[in-house]
C-alpha cells in the first residue's frame, strides 16, 4: 500500500494561528512544571541582570504553542493515525514575556520506508514561530510516523 495524498500540499501553509500573548506568569508556571529553577526565567530582578534584560522563556516553551491553544486544527490527515516520532527545534530568538506569538505551519516532507517492522510513512510538519515584530523565534519540525 502506498500513502494517498495530494503532492500539492507539500510546502503549502495549511495553518496560520491567531497571535497568542505570553505572560510572565505563564513562563513561571512552565518553569514550575518542568522543574526549571534558573532565575532569569522567573525572577524579574535576576532577569534584569541577565543576558536579555527581562524575563525570557526557557527554549522548550515554544513547544507549548502547538498544544491546546493550537493543536493543528487543519492538519492534513494521513493513513491510520500514526504517532509522534519526535521534534527538531531550531532556536533563533528568545520568547519574551509580553510577546504575541504566531505559528505558521506547512508540510515539509512526506516519505515512505520499509524497515524490519514493515512499510511505514513519515511526515514532517514545520511550524515557524514568529513574534509581534515578525521576527522568527524558532522553527519546529514535528515528526510523525505510522504504518501503511
Amino acid at each position: 500500500m502506498t500513502l494517498d495524498y495530494d503532492p500539492a500540499i507539500i510546502g503549502k501553509v495549511f495553518e496560520e494561528t491567531d497571535p497568542v500573548a505570553v505572560s510572565a506568569q505563564e513562563i513561571k508556571d512552565f518553569c514550575a512544571a518542568i522543574g526549571e529553577t534558573n532565575p532569569w526565567y522567573t525572577d524579574e530582578e535576576a532577569a534584569r541582570k541577565g543576558p536579555y534584560g527581562e524575563i525570557v522563556a526557557p527554549p522548550m516553551f515554544v513547544l507549548t504553542f502547538r498544544n491546546g491553544r493550537h493543536f493543528f486544527q487543519n492538519i492534513p490527515r494521513f493513513g491510520k493515525g500514526g504517532f509522534d516520532a519526535g521534534r527538531d527545534v531550531e532556536f533563533v530568538n528568545p520568547v519574551h514575556a509580553g510577546d504575541r506569538i504566531t505559528l505558521v505551519s506547512h508540510v515539509k516532507e512526506i516519505y515512505e520506508k520499509t524497515g524490519r517492522s514493515g512499510a511505514m510513512y513519515f511526515v514532517t510538519i514545520r511550524s515557524t514561530v514568529k513574534n509581534q515584530k515578525n521576527e522568527v523565534v524558532a522553527h519546529i519540525d514535528h515528526r510523525f510516523m505510522g504504518r501503511l
Partner: protein
C-alpha cells in the same frame, strides 16, 4: 548558577553534567496545565490503560523540556542553544527516575560562532535511552575577537 563554560574548555568526549528528574503524576498534571496539552494518556490512568499503555506516560514535550534544561545549564548565561532534536523512542512512566545526559560530539568555528555539537539522551532507571537526540550550542570563546 554554575561558572560559565567556554568553547576552549570542552573537547570531543566531554560529558555534560547530568540532570536528574523524578517526575510524578502531579508533575504531569502541572505540565498539562502549563502547556495546554490535555491528552488524557498523561493523567488519566483508566484512559491510558484502555489505550493499551502501561499507565500514564510522560509528555514527549516534557522530556524535550528536561533535555532543553540540560543544554541551557551547559551553555550558561553567555551561551545560546541553537538546535535540539529528539526522537520519542520509548515511553517513560512517572514514579521512576529519568536522567538527561550529553556528550560533546564535535566542535567547530563558523564565522564568529563557536559551535559545539552534542549527542544527548534521556535514560530511564534501567539505563535505557528512551529519548535520544542531538543538540547544537554556541559557546563564548576566550579568544580575543
Amino acid at each position: 548558577m554554575a561558572k560559565q563554560i567556554y568553547f576552549e574548555d570542552v573537547e570531543v568526549g566531554y560529558e555534560l553534567t547530568p540532570l536528574e528528574k523524578n517526575p510524578t503524576t502531579q508533575q504531569l498534571v502541572k505540565y498539562a496545565g502549563a502547556s495546554g496539552d490535555y491528552y488524557q494518556i498523561h493523567y488519566d490512568k483508566d484512559f491510558a490503560l484502555a489505550n493499551k499503555l502501561p499507565g500514564v506516560i510522560l509528555h514527549g514535550a516534557l522530556k524535550n523540556a528536561f533535555l532543553g534544561q540540560l543544554m541551557t545549564d551547559f551553555a550558561g548565561t553567555e551561551g545560546w542553544l541553537r538546535k535540539l532534536s529528539v526522537q520519542y523512542r520509548g515511553m517513560d512512566l512517572p514514579g521512576s527516575k529519568v536522567t538527561c545526559k550529553g556528550v560533546v560530539k564535535a566542535k567547530r568555528v563558523e564565522g564568529n560562532d563557536h559551535i559545539v555539537e552534542c549527542d544527548i539522551w534521556l535514560e530511564n532507571a534501567k539505563g535505557e535511552k528512551t529519548t535520544p537526540g542531538s543538540a547544537v550550542v554556541i559557546l563564548p570563546s576566550r579568544a580575543p575577537r
